[in-house]
């Protein structure tokens, strides 16, 4: 049975950064991912990474923009940590080999991004996430002697000791179907968000809330789960993301009348207001009949105002995306976009060292909620979040490991439990045409979940819609218990993994809906048409969701305010 000081689940930016940090601190490290690390969804982050590296900039300014972007729900101590450590982290990445775009002097160039008071986004064309992820993977290859890699291993659950601490995880080797229990002094969850609970979403098919759900089932509280970011510029048909970098380079948003409608809601920042503000403005245009396209469901993003050479050099990926996925040459004509689910600000509640309330369990990146993003994440702050808190979690977990022995845990019990769970899925009766109530396919349940969330737990929400979503999710949860699958094999049985993922997504969705019902105000990404104002007196607090028995239980925790008192938010 494998034993490690630090077991990291998820190999995107947060996981890989945590692995490198823990290994550097001398720990025996393993990193596990259900896909090959470079397939992790961090690869799709396009626009860049924020850091106050310019001589004219100051991390306090970055921190204030982040606090304001969060609609004052972000914890300011955590935001201070992230923003003050950002410049050093970005330099460290540059030294590792990230090919950051340079200015004429040969220094790192910076581009403008939404909600930022100055240019502070370092970038590699519009493949920043990919460049960062691949460079970190280069480092993992370099440090192959100190970091064990379990690539294409699917984690099914966390192992808990008798005292309730986390002592490892159970996983299935996707290639062989072999189940294994891993004992670890510490586990770091770094397996991303839960975007696939929405349809459409910018997130990849692998982003199914595994880490959030596993921690939740282990008893860890989830925080800010109602805060779901809709990105303002996603392709109308597929939900594929067009980077905020496009607006950072100067692109305009236009309604059917050709008006730059952002003038109304953000006269100063215009297209570069916070994402929640821009998405709401777009949705209002669409809802009031000023959308573009055959059924007026879109908004024009006009990149033609950016010099063509600059577009080809710095926005090459979206030139290709426009051509290949929408049939539009964005250097010549506007492209149709709309808001689309993009990011979950909420997640497993952690402190600034990635610690969850469960001993031995850490979380970092989108799976976690520190909370640095509060009600709304600024563009180019997520890459930063993954790296800063991935590193801090890795360092802290390594230090903790050094002071303790390998935990004793009945790993076989966990192994048996998950083995039986998978056997039960494999044994599900497909029903067939003669079945009285034939069970639905996993894919059908997933589709209904996604469409429900995108309709009722989206940019605008109200009590009635949320209650209806809550009922739907509860019904789908029940149905998912017997959802049918076809594959009974062991090698690359994606069908059985899909059934497990569906359960993860439903847990995340339920927590999101419960929290959205609870928060009776409008703040950040949560806009309640029945409670359209922000209400600091009642709701300047985090909503925590904990699984008690089989039901989500709501509690509150305070928002940490250090130097920036809540004020009216204008862009």
């Amino acid at each position: 049975m494998p034993e490690h000081d630090v077991l990291i689940i998820g190999a995107g930016l947060a996981g890989q950064r945590a692995a490198l940090a823990a290994a550097q601190a001398g720990a025996n490290v393993a990193i596990m991912s259900k896909v090959h690390p470079v397939r992790s969804h961090s690869v799709a982050a396009a626009g860049g990474i924020n850091a106050a590296i310019s001589v004219d900039d100051d991390w306090h300014s970055h921190a204030y923009d982040t606090v304001k972007g969060s609609d004052f729900l972000g914890d300011q101590d955590a935001i201070e940590v992230m923003c003050s450590e950002a410049p050093q982290e970005v330099m460290h990445l540059e030294h590792m080999g990230v090919t950051f775009h340079r200015n004429a002097k040969g220094e790192m160039d910076l581009r403008a991004f939404g909600g930022a008071s100055m240019k502070r986004t370092a970038y590699v064309a519009d493949i920043t996430g990919q460049a960062l992820l691949h460079v970190l993977y280069e480092q993992l290859l370099k440090h192959h002697e100190t970091v064990a890699r379990y690539e294409e291993w699917f984690t099914t659950s966390l192992l808990l000791g008798e005292d309730g601490s986390c002592c490892g995880a159970v996983a299935r080797d996707v290639r062989s179907g072999h189940m294994e229990a891993f004992t670890a002094k510490n586990v770091i969850l770094a397996c991303g968000g839960a975007g696939q609970a929405y349809k459409p979403t910018t997130n990849g098919l692998i982003v199914t809330g595994d880490g959030i759900a596993m921690a939740y089932r282990a008893g860890a509280p989830l925080m800010d789960m109602e805060m779901v970011q809709y990105h303002p510029t996603c392709l109308v048909e597929t939900g594929i993301l067009i980077t905020e970098g496009a607006r950072g380079e100067g692109a305009h948003l236009l309604n059917a009348n050709g008006e730059r409608f952002m003038e109304k809601s953000a006269p100063n920042k215009m297209e570069l207001a916070s994402r929640d503000v821009v998405s709401r403005a777009e949705q209002i245009e669409i809802d009031e009949g000023r959308g573009v396209g055959p059924d007026k469901a879109g908004i024009y993003l006009d990149v033609t105002v950016v010099p063509r050479k600059r577009t080809l050099e710095a926005l090459r990926e979206i030139v290709n995306l426009g051509r290949d996925f929408a049939g539009v040459d964005i250097t010549r004509e506007p492209i149709m976009i709309r808001p689309g689910q993009h990011y979950i600000m909420g997640g497993v509640k952690t402190d600034v060292d990635g610690r969850t309330p469960i001993d031995g369990l850490y979380a970092a990146g989108e799976v976690a909620c520190v909370s640095v993003h509060g009600g709304n994440r600024l563009g180019a702050n997520s890459l930063l979040d993954t790296l800063i808190f991935g590193r801090r979690a890795g360092e802290h977990a390594a230090a903790r490991a050094a002071s303790m022995g390998m935990p004793r845990v009945d790993a076989n019990a966990g192994l048996r439990r998950d083995g039986e769970m998978i056997d039960a899925i494999l044994a599900r009766d497909g029903g067939g045409p003669t079945h009285p109530t034939p069970p639905r396919r996993v894919s059908e349940i997933k589709r209904e979940l996604g469409e429900t969330m995108n309709k009722q737990v989206a940019v605008f929400r109200d009590e009635q819609g949320l209650q209806s979503a809550l009922e739907t999710v509860a019904r789908l949860k029940e149905e998912s218990e017997c959802a049918s699958i076809d594959d009974r094999g062991t090698v690359f049985n994606q069908d059985v993994l899909g059934a497990i993922e569906l359960g993860f997504m439903l847990d995340c969705a339920q927590a999101t809906v419960v929290a959205a019902i609870e928060r009776k105000e409008s703040r950040g990404a949560q806009f309640r048409t029945d409670f359209p104002e922000r209400n600091d007196a009642a709701w300047l607090k985090h909503i925590d969701i904990t699984l008690v028995g089989d039901e989500p239980e709501v509690s509150y925790s305070p928002v940490t305010i250090t130097q920036w008192q809540p004020e009216e938010r204008k862009y």
């Binding site: 090959h36 969804h41 590296i53 460079v135 098919l205 894919s443 899909g498």
Partner: protein, 384 residues
């Protein structure tokens, strides 16, 4: 049908898919499996496979995630050609199908695990590890960023854009013949460091890859990888740049006669306008001059090629005069060829084609006045 995104009127059509399935646990050989899906023609082959998987047979195996050609998971062969499934439109795939049925198979040059899933670790990632795929940073490491030219970073960004999908590996003809060839993806990765001014070991990397019989001179210029790459990484172009840097900048003379062969090639074309094979062999082995043939290595190679030459003569593929005298082309054509050489060589720096650097072969559209504030430094940057 409840497709949320069926927004175009009457857009949905039927497409037939023919998937090459393989179940390693069945003990059976691979077999063809057909499904009909309903999608709009501009949707992707991946969406079609996923619809078949979602509706008809959940056991179809395919790696996929992002659906937007950035994660590199869904490399397959569509109608025999390597491609990302998510990056291939159904209408185009149908048009290129032999009988209207879109054929989808696993990639080549790598063992199949199940259905469309291949073992990339056994081939692709092993080769990536061969090229020391991490920065060997110049010392001392500066406190802030390394100061390097804008062009150098944009240049290596082209190879950084590789998503490790394996399409080029799937289609590499040299690797089919010589499975040990380091191959297009890994060598493109090598250029990412050789082209990076922050790397301290350009010479060591190049010497290693030049001296390796399965290194940069093992490529046969078939252009298959260039065509296969969904991200315009131009792997063969990167291999050629490694060769030019190794030979012209570092003057590495390799044991594979690669440097001499290229020099001989270029010289013979310049002199004659067309290749003179009989002179190419001795020069490649003995040195790039008429005297090359007297070197012992050239002699041995010439002797060993005598049977081939005799066969060629007997089959009238070669003539004796063709062997002994240079081939000729009309003098104005020769002049045209030589003017290409003059033009290229008169440039102060070697001309390297890189899409990120040169954009497209087209004058930029006139940029509008009154640029928004956000784009100011971008515009400066792009004109510098």
């Amino acid at each position: 049908m409840a497709e949320v995104h069926d927004r175009r009127e009457g857009g949905v059509e039927s497409f037939m898919l023919r998937l090459l399935r393989y179940d390693p646990e069945s003990g059976q050989a691979p077999y063809w499996d057909e499904h009909t899906v309903q999608l709009e023609p501009h949707r992707s082959v991946l969406e079609a496979v996923l619809q078949a998987k979602d509706r008809f047979d959940g056991s179809i195996g395919i790696r996929c995630s992002c659906r937007q050609a950035i994660c590199g998971s869904c490399g397959v062969r569509v109608n025999g050609e390597p491609a990302l499934a998510c990056h291939t439109h159904l209408d185009a795939a149908k048009a290129s199908a032999r009988d209207g049925v879109i054929e989808i198979e696993p990639m080549g040059n790598m063992p199949v695990i199940k259905d469309l899933i291949v073992d990339m670790d056994a081939v692709h990632w092993k080769k990536i590890q061969r090229v020391t795929p991490w920065l060997l940073a110049k010392q001392p490491v500066p406190e802030r960023e390394y100061i390097v030219s804008k062009e150098s970073m944009v240049d290596v960004t082209q190879t950084m854009a590789c998503i490790q999908c394996g399409a080029c590996v799937s289609d590499c003809l040299a690797m089919e013949v010589d499975p040990g060839f380091i191959g297009p993806a890994a060598l493109a990765k090598a250029y990412r460091f050789v082209g990076d001014p922050r790397d301290a070991e350009h010479y060591e990397r190049l010497n290693d890859l030049a001296q390796d019989p399965q290194g940069i001179f093992d490529c046969t210029h078939c252009f298959k990888c260039v065509q296969a790459c969904p991200k315009d990484v131009n792997p063969m172009g990167q291999i050629m740049r490694l060769r030019r840097t190794a030979t012209q900048d570092f003057h590495i003379v390799d044991q594979n006669n690669g440097e001499r062969h290229e020099a001989a090639f270029a010289t013979l074309i310049r002199n004659n306008g067309i290749l003179w094979e009989a002179e190419l062999i001795p020069r490649s082995y003995g040195g790039n001059s008429w005297f090359g043939k007297f070197a012992p290595a050239a002699g041995r190679e010439l002797l060993s090629s005598v049977p081939t030459a005799i066969k060629g003569l007997l089959r009238r593929k070669m003539t004796l005069t063709g062997i002994l005298r240079p081939h000729k082309i009309p003098s104005q054509d020769l002049k045209a060829v030589q003017s290409i050489y003059d033009k290229i060589e008169s440039r102060p720096e070697r001309y390297e084609l890189n899409l990120y650097v040169v954009g497209e072969d087209e004058a930029p559209a006139s940029s509008p006045e009154g640029e928004p504030a956000g784009a100011a430094s971008g515009a400066e940057g792009s004109t510098s």
